[in-house]
Amino acid sequence: MSPPVQVNDLSWLIGGPQGSGVDSSANVFARACAAGGLHVFGKREFYSNIMGEHSYFALRALTIPVRSHIDAVNVLATFEAETLFRHARAVTDDGAIVYDPALGKTRLADIPTIEKRLRADLQTYLISHGVGETLDDMLAASKQRGVSLVPIPFKGLLEQIADEFQVDQLSKISRVVNMLAVGASFGILGFDFATMRTALEDVFRAKAKIVNMNAWGAQKAYDLARALVPDFRYRLQTVPREESRLFLTGSQATALGKLYGGMRFQTYYPITPASDESEFLEENEILDVNGHGLVPEAAAPKEDGASILVVQTEDEIAAVTMATGAALTGVRSATATSGPGFSLMMEGIGWASINEVPLVITLYQRAGPSTGMPTRHEQGDLLFALHAGHGESPRIVLASGDFEECMRDGFLAFNFADRYQMPVIHLVDKALANSYATIVPPDLSDLRIDRGALVPPNNGHSSENPYKRFDLGNGPVSPRALLGQEGTIFWNTGDEHDELGHITEDPGLRNAMMEKRFAKLDLAAEEIPADVKLKYFGPKDASTVIVSWGSTKGALLDALDRLWADGAKIGYLHVRLIKPFPVAEVTKFLAKAKRRIGVEMNFGGQLASVVREQTGIQMTHLVLKYNGRPMSNTELYDALGPILHGKAEKRTVLTRGA
């Protein structure tokens, strides 16, 4: 008896050499699913390379919001050999492989971009299946397991397209193979082809001929694949969509939150993966105002004239210092960077801290140290962000775990920077930045802009009674003046300063200024609402509690849904405000737990060490990953089970991901 058909729960993967158009095919596939009412989550993996190295997109499509990827692939779509060699083993036994039969004789050894380690591993696999080392052998090994093979004669189809559209050279339309692979995938999945065409039109917009060629070819591949595998177990069907949805990346979500929060100045130096956000801002530098956030229907008559000025600087030192200079004029100002760039910003962060300048730094973490793996994921900069710079300088550190948090924290970072007059480091990471997903537009109507204490111009100051930028008389926060304002001249210096902002080395003043600056952190800890600091998921009396932060949230929640369905008594404390650390709140959630599991994408268990430092509570277990690939919900589920059953070591290292 054949297993039941699985509708609208699919894991799809497409790969190819960088620069060959794989991005567009994943985009069309995802947009078609989204247009068809499905939720999607896509993970993008690529090398630090412009052209030729392997890149891939793993995408899940479901009827409910998707928060993470899984290890298994139901449909693998390829038009070249490397993707097939790399990913065929991940295809489920009931899955399918779309491939080019003309490449069947390609040998593993013919592909120089496959690393030696992986090649040896694949050879062992092929030998164990008693087959040779060609692509046909790889396919045969898959077929043995029950995988459906979907040969698509890509070259033949390209020739037909060239004939139909009178294209003189096949090389001019070589990129169409991407859409043929998408078309063939939708063919076996039985998805509505008209919806795919809509997605093609969305992606290629004004270019009618390109849309027509791609659609014509995709339809051929669709029909061919459907005839080859008419009874595929996985199906995708359009479903009615009640509410509007956004389809975006984490970089875009962060940018939107920052703009909504009133950011009008951003600096950056090109770096992966942070640049995407700045480029998005540059493309959208003219802004509408007097509106209502994300909801188009509610928009009041718009005023034009607002803008975000994005400046590409000569280096990250200039990025952080220029953003700080701008912040002194009153604009909400930020810079966005990744590890190596952040390393260059240390001195500037200290300057902003001692001069009490509201400055936002969005830090897109990637695998370090040094250049590390520039295009791969890690949450390795938490301790660095907490301590960045010499001396002791207060700052606020916020870490986002999903797209809505990227938006909210992007917004709130500016409020905290203004209210507590200090740098705010907003931690995002590669997995969030480069993932794309459909979300229900978050309701941000509770958000309000708080500029903190400001002194108006001409506020009665005189030579006898001068404005004191660092007034010690009225609590830790001194009302701030803006450069250019009449009647409030002040001075800044990186030296320790007096109330006016002039250099001092007076021991008493030094103490007073240190205490003033740090008292603002206590105030922040008191005032920032609990629901911003952290969130607890799961049963209140759970004897096992996970502590995590950042983008592991999606995979954890998806894994926990399955563990809870299994009856596990396990909770999850997601910490968003790392500095000032929510000591009382974290203690409350962890004090009674028998097992405490730190889950983090780094080697050392950085949040776990912060928890221990701040609360004295130690994790009983750590689940860590540092191979550059984000945690899948599958591997988290597999790792948490043994811990719950008392059968795990203290330290579990996750290793999956291609």
Binding site: P240, Y260, D288, A326, G330, R332, P441
Partner: protein, 327 residues
């Protein structure tokens, strides 16, 4: 302070104790800045002076305008941020030669590429004064100032050449003991439309015992006829030098002339304006090509919130292409 009041240099003075060494060239620069601002009738609050680190950087504490004393080598990017945040402000930027040409050399080059409307002044004394006299980037090869263990092993960079190569559209050099001339240069630099660079030669009486006031003044080489010293410093304009690019086609000739003059050193050291070209669009003008109302509604002056903190940014157009509308 109302504009109609006649401003005096003392209106730009603070009560902060000045701790420069007696005879420091910085005094001349400080005084000329105060004089230039007064003569240009600049309202103190409309002016922001940004400095880096070192003796030169302390200047801002002695001037009653907004003053931002920043990090070693970083005065230019801070100043750039101030000017871009609110281009309606008048921005002056001060560095030492180690500050601006050594640790901050990268910013020096990139500021030229932008041509932002501000004046950058380098206090040029050939030594790192505040750290006790190490060789700085404008000290010549083989020169041994008094705290050096050995003669300088590095050659000097030519700030005028570097500024021209980087794209500064006004390049001048002053001498801190020629007050009247320096005031005139500061005023011209401030009023120049675009990025102006002013190299100011200044003795460091404590650590540079080679390029002293007496050396610049030619006390060591007196006129045989009348016994008067023959100053090394001379004014370009006295020889009829014309630095102004009057037509874009003049650029090559005027830049070549400036480069040639800037090679002079030793017995004859030119001061004055080497080059001036207002045909290059300023950074502000380039931004206004993309953001038409940039000058009228710059980042710092935009209203981002309603009376109760309601965010005013409308994201609807931005998310249009990301939106799949509900049924």
């Amino acid at each position: 302070m109302a504009l109609e009041q006649i401003l005096k240099p003392s209106d730009f003075a603070t009560e902060v104790h000045n701790d420069w060494c007696p005879g420091c060239g910085d005094f001349g620069i400080l005084r000329t800045i105060q004089m230039a601002l007064a003569e240009l009738r600049m309202e103190p609050h409309r002016v922001t002076i940004v400095s880096g680190i070192g003796c030169s950087a302390k200047t801002i504490h002695y001037v009653k305008t907004y003053g931002v004393h920043t990090l070693h080598g970083r005065a230019l990017p801070y100043a750039t941020g101030v000017k871009l945040g609110n281009p309606q402000l008048k921005v002056l930027c001060l560095s030492g030669d180690g500050d601006g040409l050594g640790i901050g050399g990268g910013h020096f080059v990139n500021a030229g590429r932008r041509n932002l409307d501000m004046l950058y002044v380098i206090h040029d004394n050939g030594v790192y004064g505040l750290t006790k006299g190490q060789a700085a980037p404008t000290l010549k090869l083989g020169v041994q100032t008094k705290s050096l263990a050995h003669p300088n092993i590095n050659d000097a960079v030519n700030p005028i050449w570097l500024a021209l190569a980087a794209g500064a559209t006004w390049v001048g050099r002053g001498y801190s003991y020629d007050i009247k001339h320096l005031v005139s240069l500061l005023k011209q630099g401030i009023e120049h439309k675009g990025y102006a660079f002013l190299d100011v030669l200044q003795p460091c009486p404590t650590y540079n015992d080679i390029n002293t006031k007496e050396w610049y003044g030619g006390e060591d080489r007196k006129d045989a006829n009348n016994g008067r010293p023959l100053p090394r410093v001379y004014k370009l304009e006295d020889g009829g030098y014309d630095p102004v690019v009057r037509d874009p086609s003049d650029v090559e000739a005027k830049a070549s002339q400036a480069l040639e003059k800037a090679l002079e050193w030793g017995d004859r050291i030119p001061i004055g304006v080497f080059y001036k070209n207002e045909h290059v669009p300023t950074f502000e003008e380039r931004i206004a090509q993309r953001i038409p109302n940039y000058m009228d509604n710059p980042p710092a002056l935009q209203v981002i919130a309603g009376p109760h903190g309601e965010p005013r940014t409308d994201l609807a157009r931005l998310v249009q292409r990301m939106t799949f509308k509900g049924a």
